[in-house]
Amino acid sequence: MLYIKCPYCGLRAQKEFSYGGDATVKRPNINEEVSSENWDNFVYMRKSPRGKHIELWQHIAGCRQWIKVQRDTATHEIFQTAKVTEEIR
């Protein structure tokens, strides 16, 4: 079970979180024309890298904040966590 550092609450067990997918996907702006291809990329297309992956988790059984987690998909090592307003590099 992973041990995830919520930037608001500190280290908490994975049980308290739910997974939210790739954090680098950006939704096209509201009321903006978007090509079918860009829209499909946003809705469906995801990379599934082996290794470092920046992803969203929500602390549902805690502060309910969505957070960013940089995790190795093969080893589960977590390198960094951040608020969604912060950058992970």
Binding site: A13, R27, W66, H76, T85
Partner: protein, 998 residues
């Protein structure tokens, strides 16, 4: 009642307390502190089971977790448990143990015929044999294999015991209380670290209990006791015996299995049987020790053959002799300690040492004590069927590939030692790549992967001095990093015997013209020849060899067999062991009970139960409940001998004719506040929200980004910047997360806050033509006329003195209202409604009637919004704005969503107007068509229309709207029904929606 193999004095058992038990029906006794194994051996019983494949007689081989054979069916404290390890289970009064995998009895086992047919049971037998003819599989092969498979019998009784889960955090977890574990725990504790020390066995000390050593002039056992006593007195230390750390998971999470009360005669009502600990440790010391491995020889599985250290443990811990004419077969010095222990107890052992004559401290001592030692000797084959009677021994030649001077010597036990294998399971589970250590012919942990530090024998250090030193150093250094305190501890003086070098020899060659089975893995009956066959057949990867031959599988996980198996594969392949590699070590290290994994999450505690504030009233009034997620909702209120069908029809009819009330507390409720709330709703919902006035509700539809309907519900504008959203019961949590996602990540610029208020409000729907009259009695001072409170209107008013919210919304399609009061007032509201409603013929109605009402109205719910439908599929395209953007809008343009023949919602009635159409039925053109019959759609919801007094269903059907008036079949293979149906509009009752506005 005498115990012929019990020593008079030795051992750590409590001789003042006799414990009686039975084995295969025979009454026996042992002492407190015995295991089932030690008590049986004391009674001279060795034949305890039959082997898995050949049904060969098997006895005890080890004295702890390494035991491959002695798995018993054990009944105690009123339950029956299969595959209990007799060498681990402590004796309790009244326990009854029976042998497994034998019929009719362990002494006469019909299955033993397999042993004489063994040429027909080679490696891969099942794979090769049960392939053809194909038709034999179900009726002949599968039942046969099922009967032969497995060992014990799982109980079908409900487990009455209590199990617990516990979550713990510590600075240092120490797994194993041998010398290195004790030293680590002690050093860390002195540095002020929070320490958990876990010991699998009932007694602390590990090898200190059996080795002839002294530390600071105390015996090993006394020193262990001194340290444990001190550790127990320290507030920062938790010391646990009977606790096996069996798994090392991600982020330094270890899981431990504690046997809390199996050994207790009486316990309090709330004492759990077993407890599962989830331990998050900052650092972990793996002091799991090592397990002796056997030397392979002919018939080496005969009862009476033991690991040499196990024989010593039986003497030293339990005061039990495994035999009175022991033969000791070894390639190293450690077995000499067993020989000396026999000698001390006036039993004369013979030592066969595969090494050439040489000298060491232990050999010299054995010689001095007059023990018969034969160098360059080995056991060729053991004789005896149900118990060892003699052994054929021989002198090995220089290359050790043949022997001479063959003779047969009598013996009643053979104690075998092929050197030591570090228990690296936990280290490997942590992700540590192991490395092969030539010096000890075994794998040891390599570079750290997580925070695991292996010490002592688990790390390949087999001397006490080294183990203690590593323990103290690592315990001290690891904890000092955390506590930033370092207490100096002087490493104690150690007195131990020096071991000479061991011999790599591990397998005796076969005698000429004889072919006895030489077992590598006892539990799975895998012999040397099986592995040879697998390699001849082309299996190369050790993982494949394992699966093909079953080497190293099952409950003992190859603890005594893995390395010998690897040796054999590398010999045949002419490789060195590290090239062959090892199979994966997986948790659990030892079998654990399902009860422990489940813990308290069983029955009512399987998940939380959510009850509405009116639950007690429903209970008192014969409600039959249905689960809606975690909620309990009344499905119907039973009157007399009514069936579900009758009751729901009565309740629904009463709503159509008079008035009914329904508990709608379970609907999801979300409070939305902020200056940008309208803009936010406008983006979340498909319809327009910018112009909704204060005091009005609106029905809204929300999509996922892929265009599929996510949820529906009404949202009411309470005040300028304050909205009250309702969701379906099932989607409440998802919708909240969905809203939070957009507010926190996508549109953080919107100034809006959302919070769940589901449990803050109790809700009741009042529905039916007489609902307005009833409402006027509930709110005598309020104008509830159609003009003052129109459809989709909202008012706040006092309900008999308590604040309430009135929404004029309808799910039933009737004139209807929903009243919300604070949860604490829910019961008051409900009882008042029942009282006031009497004169209007009010009756409560449950979810079944609620479904009937919405289905015949053509209102969609979960079965239609099933994660596959878009708004136009369910006739809700009127709610999809063309003018504004919203979540999922771009997806609605997808080609597949816009083809002419796209699925649509329709209504179905049976041609005979009588047959109910099962939900889930497929709609087909021709009920007799050849399979696969092309499916045109499926029945999503079914009811008995109370308005028209015949069955009615909703269905999602290809090109639905153009099918109206046509006839099809609704077939349900599950219910074995085929019903001819006519397609009609999904709005079966009041299609213009006049009633809700009346």
């Amino acid at each position: 009642m005498s115990q012929p193999f019990r020593l008079n004095k030795e051992g750590l058992i409590n001789r003042n307390k006799k414990i009686s038990f039975t084995f295969n029906g025979k009454k026996l006794f042992g002492y407190e502190g015995d295991t089932i194994a030690s008590a049986l051996i004391a009674n001279g019983i060795h034949l305890v089971g039959r082997s898995f494949k050949y049904h060969r007689p098997r006895g005890f081989f080890g004295a702890g977790v390494e035991e491959p054979n002695a798995k018993l069916q054990v009944e105690f404290n009123g339950h029956s448990e299969p595959n209990v390890n007799a060498t681990e289970m402590e004796l309790v009064e009244g326990l009854s143990a029976t042998s497994q995998n034998c019929w009719p009895s362990v002494n006469f086992d019909v299955g033993a015929i397999n042993n004489f047919l063994k040429m027909f049971f080679p490696a891969g037998f099942y794979y090769k044999t049960f392939m053809w003819p194909k038709s034999f599989w179900y009726k002949i092969y599968e039942p046969f294999i099922r009967k032969a498979a497995g060992l014990g019998v799982a109980s079908i009784e409900k487990d009455k015991e209590r199990y617990e889960h516990k979550f713990e955090y510590c600075d240092l977890l120490v797994t194993g209380s041998g010398p290195s574990g004790l030293a680590s725990a002690y050093a860390a504790a002195k540095n002020g670290a929070k320490v958990i020390l876990a010991e699998d066995k009932p007694r602390f000390g590990g090898t200190l209990l059996t080795d002839d050593v002294s530390i600071d002039n105390l015996s090993g056992k006394d020193w262990a006791e001194k340290i444990i006593t001190e550790l127990k007195s320290m507030p920062n230390v938790t010391v646990k015996n009977r606790s096996q750390v069996f798994g090392y998971y991600d982020h330094n999470m270890l899981v431990m299995f504690e046997r809390v009360s199996d050994h207790l005669e009486t316990k309090s009502k709330f004492t759990p049987r077993q407890r599962l600990w989830y331990i998050r440790a900052k650092e972990t010391i793996l002091s799991t020790g090592s397990i002796e491995r056997p030397i392979v020889f002919g018939n080496n599985d005969t009862p009476g053959i033991f690991l040499s250290a196990a024989a010593k443990e039986y003497m030293k811990v339990y005061g039990v002799l495994v035999g009175k004419k022991p033969l000791i077969f070894t390639n190293n010095d450690s077995a000499y300690e067993t020989a000396l222990e026999f000698k001390k107890n006036n039993v004369e052992p013979i030592i066969l040492d595969t090494r050439e004559e040489h000298s060491s401290e232990l050999i010299d001592e054995a010689k001095a004590k007059g023990i018969d030692i034969r160098f360059s000797h080995g056991v060729i084959v053991a004789n005896g069927y149900k118990k060892v009677k003699s052994a054929k021994i021989g002198k090995l030649n220089k290359d050790k590939n043949s022997f001479e001077k063959i003779e047969t010597i009598e013996c009643d036990c053979i104690c075998v030692s092929g050197f030591w294998t570090p228990s690296v399971h936990l280290a490997s589970q942590s992700g540590n790549k192991l490395k092969y250590e030539e010096k000890i012919d075994a794998f040891i942990p390599d570079k750290k992967k997580q925070h695991e530090t292996s010490v002592g024998a688990a790390n390949g250090s087999f001397t006490l001095e080294e183990s203690l030193k590593h323990g103290f150093e690592n315990g001290s250094n690891l904890s000092a990093k955390i506590t930033e305190t370092k207490t100096e501890i002087s490493i104690p003086n150690v007195n131990e015997k020096k071991y000479g070098a061991h011999d790599k020899f591990w397998c005796m060659p076969l005698p000429k013209n004889e072919n006895p089975k030489r077992f590598v893995d006892f539990q799975n009956d895998v012999s040397v020849s099986d592995i040879e066959i697998a390699l001849r057949e082309g299996y190369r990867s050790i993982e494949h060899v394992k699966r093909y031959t079953t080497l190293g599988m099952a409950t003992d996980q190859g603890r005594t067999s893995n390395l010998n198996g690897l040796q054999l594969v590398s010999n045949i392949e002419n490789k060195i062991v590290p090239e062959v590699g090892h199979t994966t070590f997986r948790p659990p290290f030892t079998p654990i009970t399902i009860g422990t994994i489940v813990g308290r999450e069983v029955g009512m505690e399987y998940m939380p139960t959510r009850k509405t504030p009116m639950h007690e009233w429903h209970e008192k009034n014969n409600a039959v409940f249905v689960d809606a997620g975690a909620w309990k909702r009344p499905r119907y209120y039973k009157q007399g001998s009514e069936t579900l069908f009758e009751a729901s029809k009565r309740e629904a009819k009463n709503v159509r004719e008079n008035v009914g009330i329904c508990d709608v507390t379970t609907l999801g409720k979300i409070d939305i506040k902020g200056p940008d709330a309208a803009e936010f709703l406008n983006r979340v919902y498909t319809n327009a929200w910018m112009k909704l006035p204060v005091g009005k509700a609106r029905y809204g539809l929300m999509l996922r980004e892929d265009g599929i309907v996510m949820d529906d519900g009404t949202t009411t504008r309470i005040s300028e910047n304050h909205y009250h959203m309702t969701t379906t019961t099932a989607q409440a949590a998802n919708v909240l997360s969905h809203l939070e996602y957009y507010l926190q990540i996508v549109w953080p610029e919107l100034n809006v806050n959302v919070v769940s208020t589901t449990e803050q409000w109790a809700g009741a729907a009042i529905a039916g033509p007489k609902s307005r009259e009833m409402l006027s009695k509930l709110y005598p001072d309020l104008d509830v006329s159609n003009e003052a409170l129109p459809f989709m209107g909202y008012k706040e008013a006092e309900f008999f003195g308590v604040p309430s919210r009135i929404f004029r919304i309808s799910f039933s399609g009737e004139l209807a209202y929903e009243i919300n009061v604070k949860s604490d007032h829910g019961m008051f509201m409900w009882e008042k409604m029942m009282e006031v409603g009497k004169e209007f013929g009010n009756q409560p109605y449950g979810t079944e009637a609620l479904s009937t009402l919405r289905i015949e109205m053509g209102h969609v719910a979960g079965p239609e919004l099933d994660g596959r439908t878009i708004p136009s599929d369910v006739s809700l395209n009127g709610l999809v704005s063309k003018k504004k953007d919203f979540i999922g809008k771009n997806s609605l343009g997808r080609e597949a969503f816009n083809v002419e023949s796209r699925q649509k919602i329709v209504g179905l009635i049976p041609i005979d107007r009588k047959s109910s159409i099962p939900e889930g039925s497929h709609i087909v053109q021709d009920q007799n068509a050849k399979l696969p019959n092309p499916k045109l759609g499926h029945v999503s919801s079914s009811c008995w229309s109370v308005e028209n007094n015949n069955p009615f269903s909703l269905a999602i059907m290809k090109d639905g709207k153009n099918m109206i008036g046509k006839k099809f079949f609704a077939v349900s293979p599950l219910k074995n029904k085929s019903i001819e149906v006519e397609v009609i509009s999904s709005h079966y009752v009041d299609p213009e929606g006049k009633r809700v506005r009346s």
